[in-house]
Assembly symmetry: none
Homo-oligomer: 377 residues x 2
């Protein structure tokens, strides 16, 4: 009994995938995930229900907390039940992930320790725990605890050897040139972004801010990737995916949420290709071997290179190798050998004299690379 609510938007539909992409699947997330092809999804973002214990306590008719929560068996039953639920959906999620896929799960102290343990037990590989620091948390009205001012996210790979997507350069330059840390500051979802129903009441109790998903998708997906959200709610994941030129698959049980999400996502203009392109990482740049600098006449055989402090020097040979005393080999190997280091990036280590300016040979590589990129464009 699996329903599908298709959104008007379906970007890149000619991709020919069998995946029900840019779509909301209505019903239980485990059943729906098990119906999807294995190894087909790049990223999962999940905002699962928090611990059942709280709901149970609140819905008791007599409100007597005394027998309810103090009994060992009750508590054990409750956590055990939550664990069964958690392991079920995490198992189904792992099946649909590509080998190099990854998952994000958000939670609070009520449930995040169960989730984290389950991830580890199911052979996911934890990459980071991330703290969402709320700029405007709800105060602790009774003054009995610290203000609960954060939620925790876990970022985990499908397995230990998964080579997950991480747009390191993009994160770094968006953070004013220093590495993005594990503590993120965002306001909670309020104002115009918060979905309201006809009675001006919030549609969903825990709608997440788009800024949070924006950072997550920017950091750990590429344009065109498929992002699955098994607890879709009012569709924040889908909304941000559409804005960023990613595909989404939402799964949600509640019809009211599905309706709100469909309306919300339909109103969004998909992101333009150039605007959502990801900064090219160094590792993916056009490869320029050292020998081509010599071949193209940028550096003459016999030229002396040295390190920034001029402690070491080496001579360039016509075949693209370096010689320094007894050492010979690639720019990297000789750089490592003269320092007695395990390894060395010769492009940054070796310098030459350019009109009196001491510059790393990497500058010559950059100019050749720019030339090559221009030609191939």
């Amino acid at each position: 009994m699996l329903h599908t609510a298709r959104t008007a938007f379906q970007a890149d539909a000619d991709k020919g995938q069998v995946l029900p992409v840019d779509t909301i699947l209505v019903g239980d997330c485990v059943s729906h995930m098990n119906a999807l092809p294995a190894g087909s999804v790049d990223l999962i973002f999940a905002d699962p229900p928090y611990n059942l214990q709280l709901e149970q306590g609140l819905t008791r008719p007599d409100q007597s907390r005394v027998d309810a929560v103090d009994d060992d068996w009750d508590k054990f039953e409750s956590f055990a039940h939550y664990d069964v639920f958690t392991r079920a959906w995490l198992t189904a999620a792992r099946r649909v992930l590509k080998p190099d896929g990854a998952i994000w799960v958000i939670g609070s102290y009520h449930n995040i320790f169960r989730v984290g343990s389950a991830l580890q037990d199911l052979d996911y590989w934890l990459l980071n725990d991330i703290v969402w620091r709320k700029a405007n948390p709800m105060p602790n009205f009774r003054g009995t605890r610290f203000t609960n001012a954060h939620e925790t996210l876990i970022w985990a790979a499908r397995g230990q050897r998964s080579r997950v997507t991480f747009n390191y350069e993009a994160m770094k330059l968006a953070n004013d040139e220093t590495q993005m840390r594990s503590d993120w500051l965002f306001p909670i979802c309020t104002g115009a972004e918060r979905l309201k129903d006809g009675n001006d009441e919030k549609v969903h109790p825990t709608q997440k801010p788009e800024a949070l998903l924006f950072r997550i998708l920017n950091a750990t997906t590429r344009p065109g990737d498929v992002v699955l959200d098994p607890f879709f709610g009012t569709g924040t994941t889908g909304a941000v995916a559409k804005k960023l030129g990613r595909h989404f698959i939402g799964i949600e049980r509640e019809d009211a949420y599905v309706a709100a999400a469909l309306k919300r996502i339909a109103a969004i203009k998909p992101g333009a290709r150039e605007a959502v392109a990801v900064t090219t990482p160094k590792r993916k740049e056009t490869k320029v071997p050292f020998g081509s600098l010599i071949e193209q006449g940028l550096i003459a055989p016999g030229t002396q290179l040295f390190d920034a402090q001029k402690r070491f020097s080496a001579m360039v040979r016509a075949d693209g190798s370096l010689v320094s005393g007894p050492h010979q080999g690639s720019i990297h190997k000789v750089g490592a050998l003269v320092q007695g280091a395990e390894s060395c990036n010769g492009w940054m280590f070796w310098h030459h004299d350019l009109d009196g300016r001491i510059v790393p040979i990497d500058e010559m590589r950059s100019s050749i690379r720019a030339q090559l990129d221009l030609l191939s464009a």
Copy 2:
């Protein structure tokens, strides 16, 4: 085979307790805790092994080696072994706690989910999870993940009905008259506070800053309370307890740590609280990186920016980078590149059109900063 290393200091000895107070017990913490009277301790602070599972050495980009935690006490065969260890000491700990007692445990994503789940399973009652944001964390040298910039603490009561100590007013006072939040900012332990041996090497690989223990003991104990630390290490808990007029019981297996802790604590004058000013880090100006303007919807991907004279333009991409012709990178880098300058303050260089008015993007930063500061005040 339980040894005791008594410190010279023993405050309030006339209290007539059978507890071995202001003392370090040398040996296994479970055995020692089981030898203590049940229901006798007000608070436990525990910094257990994190089970880091490091596989290979790590070098910084300058080829220097990172001094990793490779001690035997941090090695466990599997999560199952770690869980057995965790449940054993948490069970013993719960027995020695007074009915209204509480526990603090600190950890990282490697172990904290195991600890949190165990606490819940053993009928502790979670009160808060607290994030220690490190002012100066170690960077991620390989550029493969987010900088691991925090550790997590769990504060839990012995049971759901425990009426634990929480000095709400003191915390509020210490936090400029607003409730103390669940995210705390402290530098890591370095400099004069970090204990060094004869070879000028650190005595303990993971010594915690005293400021952290100051806040914990100030928040959740009263003067004269007994604080037990089953993984005493070099005795930060004991040192701070003595300064704050609390009693401590330390348990530690390694003789070298015990010796260092004894010497350290002996040198402290009890209760001389003013003498050791707690570093309450002043709130720095809220950092607003360029990427957050996009994440928070103040500037749309695809927007064109230009300089004041409109000689250059660039497009904002969703990942926080700018593109201008062949150049891509941060607002600062692209600003410098288009001008052929060495450097550039992108915040002042790049402008956008705000209702016909040409304003530097720095104005948006100012407004978002004001908003965030308002929210968090």
